[in-house]
Amino acid sequence: MWEILQTPQLERAFLIAIIAGPMMALLGTFITLRGMAFFSDAISHAALTGVGLGVALRLTNDVYGTGMQFVLIVFCCLVALTMAWLFERTSLRADTVIAFSYSGAVALGVILISQMKGYQSLEGVLFGEILFASDLDVWIILGLSVVVLVFLLSNLRALLLCVVQEDLARIAGVNIRRLNYLFVLLIALVVALLLQQLGALLISGLIVIPAAASRVVSTSFRQMLIMAAVFGLFAGIIGIATSAQFDLPTGPTIVLANVAFLVAAMMLGAILGRAKSGRVNTSPLDRV
């Protein structure tokens, strides 16, 4: 199996998994704690419209090129800011805003894309083509990961206080509005820059699943962060190796590897939970 590592495509795929897997999992930890799992999903689906627009407006010819990446960054950021603005300014619930942004953007995207000549090339956008990644892509993803980690670490306290109680965050001097907007922009950036490798339909799974798996087996926040990064890392590596070995589509195999970790974590969590069930109540109704 080690000779397949020799191909430069696989080498780059492994590098991306090793860099982006833990980064997305760490970001996913905060996304799930803030109840924004569907937000990243909505942005990645809306990105289809970005692809359609990029081609329709002749901004770029190549669905996988750097030109398209640029279009995607602008488009995803705009969608994210619009949704964040709607959360803030309307009395609609967040899930409602997400649902109509999501379906509206997908509808527009499909119409635009159906007018395109090279229709079939879209499979790559939907499911990702991590094996098409270039050296430049690897560097971009490395840079992105540094940005995400610096943001998360330098705002750790503010983000956690917001999760617990926003008033306490405000008293501690956190500018919640600014933090929220920066956070959604960061999600948009991650989705835009990894979309071509990981796919519009799959990318939010890669953000959310390691965090969920880690939550099930963690008893502290620190543990949750570490476990999420570990799950994200190994699911990526195992997914790529498995897909190369059995000639399966890479993106979906990585997602399934993540799901396998989640199932294993839930079973482990159930066993651990039962062992100390005298102390831990899981039903909200029990905790009065």
Binding site: V164, L168, R222
Partner: protein, 251 residues
């Protein structure tokens, strides 16, 4: 230490508006160091807003707040948080102690956190996840959070809501400890008129404006209460202390 020019806390002609809604109107009162002051009044009367305006959480339309109190601890009204939040009690409390934006070390702070928890009788909670605490336990953790930087003034927003009788009783003890032994000045919003009568030096009855202000004996008279709460047949029209108990349980 002689004759502070600044009062410990003085609120003068305070007005707070949310758009056209006049939530607080011309509120004036003063608190001296060491007092235990309770704020009572009907729901929606602006009690929580008053506390929030003291810590800068709501914008003041007009009026002044003068205070000699440097550090103010604020305990928000919150019963519990999402069970999905994995933060442990020690992790949550260390958020208060770290002044840097980067927070990762628990080592230096854990001792301090433990000491504060033990002081308020919650030492056993240190390794629990905050999402899995009961309402009363979480209240204590929020109080510990407020107390961590040793405030001179503690603002409590209905800390007893959701506590059963036993939880309520031990909570009395905690309040007593904080006030009498730790020497903290307390301003507390409460619906429990029985408790208010019991603990406070001064009572402030608020329904948009200050309806009544003074000693508990004075403010808690049925006549004064019915002015603020509206006439409640069978509850406030009764005599003396009987009136307090049902009112406190109304909510």
């Amino acid at each position: 230490m002689e004759a502070d020019k600044k009062p410990f806390l003085a609120v003068e002609e305070l007005n707070v508006r949310y758009r056209d809604n006049h939530v607080l109107e011309d509120i004036s009162f003063e608190i001296e160091r060491g007092q235990f002051v309770c704020v009572i009044g009907p729901n929606g009367g602006g009690k929580s807003t008053l506390l929030k305006s003291l810590v800068g959480l709501v914008q003041i339309h007009s009026g002044t707040i003068r205070k000699a109190a440097q550090k103010i601890g604020y305990v928000p009204q919150q019963l519990r948080i999402d069970a999905a939040v994995p933060l442990r009690v020690d992790e949550f409390l260390s958020l208060k102690l770290s002044t840097d934006r980067v927070w990762f070390g628990l080592r230096g702070t854990r001792q301090k956190v433990r000491k504060k928890l033990e002081e308020i009788g919650a030492g056993h909670l240190i390794d629990r996840q905050i999402g899995k605490l009961s309402g009363g336990e979480f209240q204590r953790i929020l109080i510990a959070y407020a107390l961590l930087d040793d405030p001179e003034l503690l603002l409590l927003d209905e800390p007893m809501t959701g506590l059963d009788v036993r939880g309520g009783l031990s909570f009395d003890g905690l309040l007593h400890h904080l006030h009498e032994h730790a020497g903290i000045t307390i301003l507390m919003v409460s619906h429990d008129l029985h408790l208010v009568e019991h603990v406070s030096d001064q009572v402030l009855c608020i329904n948009r404006t200050v309806h009544c202000h003074g000693s508990p004996d004075y403010v808690l008279q049925p006549d004064n209460l019915s002015k603020a709460y509206g006439h409640l047949p069978g509850l406030v029209s009764g005599e003396g202390n009987e009136a307090f108990i049902p009112l406190g349980r109304l909510k």
